[in-house]
Amino acid sequence: MTSGLIFGLTGIAVFAIGLFGALVMVEPLRRVLALKLCSVGAGFLLVVGAWREPPEAPDPVPHALVITGIVVMISATAVALALIRRLHMLERDTDD
């Protein structure tokens, strides 16, 4: 049992939970959060791939990839949220 093993399984679990949410959730904000869970799960897997039993230094390449992934994900989240706000506004206007 190592930290890598524990958090690797955590990441896969979080990814699967996020996938479930992305497939069945209908509420817009929750679907966005489900996708974000998937991306954190994938981040876990990459960070675990970089991990070495201390005191050995970790592999910096996956760390860089996850940072890139985080910035990409907030970009996608921002666009999805803008669409949600816009759709809400259009639907509210026609409901009146």
Partner: protein, 488 residues
Amino acid sequence: MTELPTIDWPTAVVFAPLAGAILAFAWPRRAAALGLASVLVTAGAVAALALQVLAEGAVLTRLGNWGAPLGIDLRADGLSTVLLAMTVGVGAFVSLGALDSYAPARADDRTRRYFWPLWLLLLTGLNGAFLSTDVFNLYVMLEVIALAAVGLTVLGGGRAAVRAGLDYMYASILGALLFLMGVGFVYLELGRLDFAGLIAAEPAPALTAALALMIAGLLLKTALFPLHFWLPGAHANATAPASALLSGLVVKVSLYVFLRLTQYMPLPDELLVTLIGALGAGAILWGGIQALRAERLKLLVAWSTVVQIGLIFVAFARAGQVGLAESWKAVALLILAHAVAKAGMFLAAGRIKDEVGHDRIADLDRSPIRPTLAQFTFALAAISLIGLPPSLGFAGKWVLMEGAMAAGYWHWVGVTMIGTLFSVAYFSRVLASFLRFDRMRSPVAEHQGWALADAAPLILALSALGLGLAAAPILAFMEIGYPFGATP
């Protein structure tokens, strides 16, 4: 960048549209001129790259001179170059069509200003993906494409478009994240991300997991039945030039990545190849039925994309696992044929809708305005999509059938035939109404609705037809640099 010989063409192919996007966004008033110029510069760069590939074979650029796997390489072989040429060629004509579709009389200022930066960012992503040799870089490119494509989907701003755009966004991001999870497993097993590492790899459980995740993500992004649910709404509700780009080009990039990955990381089982072919058959049947039921022209054209994607996956499976090394040619030809014809068809459908004022199929023949040139264009594009000679679609289907018959896989031949019958049936619904004149009491304004804007779709549709004659040289060019040989 000062002397001609020092220009690195693969880099130029990615950076030219990026520069255009930056300029078009920073100077919105000049967006159209800057955007068009940048598309033309990109086309020039792709042409130069094609000449270089023809002369020297595959072109490799080690960005930063580190070399994979530490750095990232760009690689243009025959297949990449053909797809780049397809992208920039179709893109250039759609750009011309966009000049009319988003002209001040038809679209608001905003639509015009935002189309160009989004389309050029999309072009950057597409070109980058076709040149990529690194799975994580592919993930980033897929995200560039996804965000730009969603932006283009909702360009019209109507409620249906925004709702479809949001569904598209969820599907697209989920697909990209499945891909990213696969990238994680690749690094876990191999400790590298470049294609050369994938080719050299021994089979391992982590790689099987990676392949499964990546394929699931790509199939979702390319809308293979039953993961197609997001496509018809998104493609039918976007404005015509955006639909042409989405249907013609965007779904092709995930197909291309699928093709690369399955050649470099072979599918472990014959059953899986058959399953993918079966999903393709499902797409042909379900998409065909939906296209027959569609009430609107653009929705019919969008469902025909679902059918064509299915056909491409049948082409992939046509000769089973042993034939995968050859099947890519049929797949590549069909990708090319569909891109050119579908872009032309969507632009033509947009022209018909613009001129007639609606796109309800049942009422198209009741209109006093006959956009005859656009209708003719639509018919020409339909010929290629149905797969009649001498079109490119025919060439692709021919290679498909040949492989399936040689391998004795008659079921794939049968599925292809059924698909062809379906496309004849649903396109006839439209074409028949073009030919009927008895439904109009008042004199038909035969010559209304011709415009210079008909030129772009017409050229695309004619190309789809005529390129069939050039299928042999195209196939020969695609094999330059051994796309799926031993050396990556």
